[in-house]
């Protein structure tokens, strides 16, 4: 069977594989390209039919994303002193004036705080728990592990109402702490299970050697286990961040002001002053960046994380 052969693939096989990869890439990249392009379109261009592939790029969407504006009539506009900044110019060209900054910046910062905060907490707690499950004799270990996994056996949103009531009673509604705790609770099972797998693969002998070399159990964990679990920790962190970053349903339900994250905020742009698709697209584009950067930074680990266990060292 050629598919099991370990010889180099033939040029025909390479050609077929290449075509499939390119097709798949095109399909997955198209929406992304569309969002990024729309962010640079003018309002009319963004809704023109047939859709415009070539267009005059403008920063209108980005300016609208970060500002609130009011319409002004032509006489008032003419009577105003000339605009001081390029973005004021952009707004005035559309017959409007800037009324103030939008809330996108704050919402974005909330996303960063809540996303990275819960990722850190999930990975931190997950690593400690996974180490304990991997190394120590724990009564009912298998049952506990199953219990932890079972928290993911239903969609989290199924318990939205109990959580909503709980948060209200505890005063956690619309707080950063509340959202961090919630996302951590959802992510922790994934973190424990993923990391337990990684830590199981690290031979105990390393820690035993460190114990004999004069270190305590915690020092051995810190100096010997953690560096070797770096791959697992990095890939777990990416999965946790992606969930917390993109989460929409709970964010809509539990946040409205102080702690509102970007996902529930972006659609609200649609309601303010008509369907401003370029601003929505601009918001989405900027929102993609942190996870993209984070993933690229940890890419090497992520790849190893996905193929982990496939190749024995």
């Amino acid at each position: 069977m050629s598919s099991y052969s370990i010889t180099a693939p033939s040029s025909r096989q390479k050609w077929i594989a290449g075509t499939i990869v390119i097709l798949y890439a095109l399909i997955t990249i198209t929406p992304l390209v569309w969002i990024i392009a729309t962010g640079f379109k003018s309002g009319p261009d963004s809704i023109s039919y047939p859709p415009k592939v070539l267009f005059q790029p403008t920063l209108e969407g980005y300016v609208n994303l970060f500002t609130t504006r009011t319409r002004a009539n032509a006489e008032d506009l003419a009577a105003m002193p000339p605009p001081e900044t390029w973005y004021e110019q952009v707004v005035r060209d559309n017959g409007m004036v800037i009324a103030g900054p939008s809330r996108y910046g704050e919402r974005f910062l909330n996303s960063v705080i809540i996303g990275f905060g819960s990722t850190f907490l999930s990975v931190f707690l997950g690593t400690l728990a996974a180490y304990a499950f991997s190394r120590f004799k724990i009564p009912l270990k298998d049952d506990l592990l199953f219990f932890i996994l079972s928290t993911r056996m239903m969609p989290p949103i199924a318990v939205a109402i109990p959580i909503f009531l709980m948060f209200r009673t505890l005063g956690l509604s619309d707080t950063h702490l509340g959202m961090i705790l919630l996302y951590t609770a959802v992510n922790i099972s994934l973190a424990v299970w993923l990391l337990k797998g990684f830590i199981d693969e690290i031979p105990r002998e390393y820690e035993e050697a460190a114990l004999i070399d004069g270190y305590t159990r915690f020092q051995a964990f810190y100096k010997v286990v953690l560096p070797q679990a770096a791959t697992g920790i990095a890939s777990t962190a990416i999965f946790c961040l992606i969930f917390a970053w993109n989460e929409y349903a709970f964010a809509v339900l539990l946040t409205s002001g102080t702690a509102q994250t970007a996902p529930p905020f972006i659609p609200t742009i649609i309601g303010v002053g008509g369907k401003d698709w370029p601003a929505v697209a601009a918001g989405a584009t900027l929102f993609l960046l942190p996870v993209m950067v984070f993933t690229i930074l940890l890419r090497k680990h992520l790849l190893r994380g996905i193929t982990f266990g496939a190749v024995r060292k």
Binding site: E205, A209, I212, D213, G214, Y215, T216, V224, Q228
Partner: protein
């Protein structure tokens, strides 16, 4: 350096008895070798002394003081594991320095540098100090592993088949090296091996374990010449001890069921006729495979022997070992 003792130490893993009531003293400055097949409890003994396992019952003493309540770090033991256990994320140098940097030893950096260089020299890994541990060959890894123990000056060195993964020449060199280090330092060693030459040449004492029990403890010569049982007698000897029914040659003491013949226990020229089945020339010795009344016997003969398969030769036992039905030595 210190004297290390086990007092009626027992350890089970679930239903498997790993060690049963073992009482043994490793005297200060001695080199004790543990012999026994896989599962006899050799590694468990090392792990109990190091503190990686706790005995179910019994006591472990270092310098006369019970260490049951002490962590491995507090016991101040060095251990070389059977599988290389180098820290893969560190360089060879950092691996060697790791025990010296521990919070217990807190060695100054210039002394660490000196000791690491010294040990690397002895183990011939000086050129590899800045390599990552994972880039070494198996033999080099094992040498670093030994080096990580040797940089310290612990109460006892515990070594679990440290030379087993090395090639023959390096093994011979390091055997001599380890023995001279031990003699120079006056260090206490507890050493597990399957290798007879290691056991005979390095040990001041040998302990033989059988399914978790210490069946004999004594000098290498004592274990070789005066084994208490067929089991102990079979642990040592190259070629292996020949085991035959006691009746084959006659003259066996009352109760003897089997006779144990080491190759040197067989005199040639007189006695019962045996046929030669194989002749193996090893260079420094020649092994003769014989068949006597359907029993296979291996003995040694003149290096330049003219014997060939099919020839006949008369043999008789000379100071053989006799064992009863249970394998206990009776004469």
């Amino acid at each position: 350096m210190a004297e290390v003792s086990l007092r009626k130490a027992s350890k089970s893993f679930g239903k498997d008895i790993a060690l049963a009531d073992v009482t043994m003293t490793v005297p200060d400055g001695s080199f004790v070798v543990l012999l026994g097949p896989t599962g006899a409890g050799k590694t468990t003994t090392l792990r109990l002394i190091s503190g990686l396992e706790r005995p179910d019952s019994g006591d472990i003493l270092i310098n006369g003081r019970s260490v049951l309540g002490a962590t491995p770090a507090q016991r101040d033991v060095a251990m070389v594991f059977q599988q290389y256990s180098l820290y893969p994320h560190m360089s060879v140098r950092d691996n060697l320095a790791f025990p010296l940097r521990s919070p217990i030893l807190k060695t100054p950096e210039d002394e660490i540098r000196r000791k690491v260089a010294e040990v690397a020299e002895v183990l011939r890994i000086s050129g590899k100090l800045d390599n990552k541990a994972t880039t070494l060959s198996g033999g080099e890894m094992q040498r670093v592993s030994i080096g990580r123990a040797l940089v310290r000056n612990p109460s006892i060195y515990l070594m679990d088949e440290p030379l087993s993964s090395l090639d023959a020449k390096l093994r011979a060199d390091l055997r001599v090296e380890l023995k001279s280090i031990q003699a120079d330092l006056g260090a206490t060693f507890l050493y597990v091996t399957h290798d007879q030459i290691e056991a005979m040449t390095m040990a001041t004492h040998i302990g033989v374990l059988d399914r978790g029990r210490l069946v004999q403890f004594g000098s290498p010569r004592d274990i070789y010449e005066n084994p208490v049982s067929l089991y102990v007698a079979s642990r040592l000897g190259i070629p292996r001890l020949n085991v035959l029914p006691a009746s084959v040659f006659g003259g066996a003491p009352y109760g003897a069921m089997t006779i144990g013949l080491r190759p040197e226990h067989i005199s040639q020229g007189v006695g019962k006729p045996a046929s030669v089945t194989r002749v193996e020339h090893l260079g420094d010795q020649t092994r003769l495979h014989l068949s006597l009344e359907g029993h296979d016997i291996v003995t040694l003969t003149d290096v330049h022997t003219g014997l060939e398969p099919g020839d006949h030769i008369a043999i008789q036992p000379h100071n053989p070992l006799f064992f009863d039905a249970g394998g206990a030595r009776i004469a």
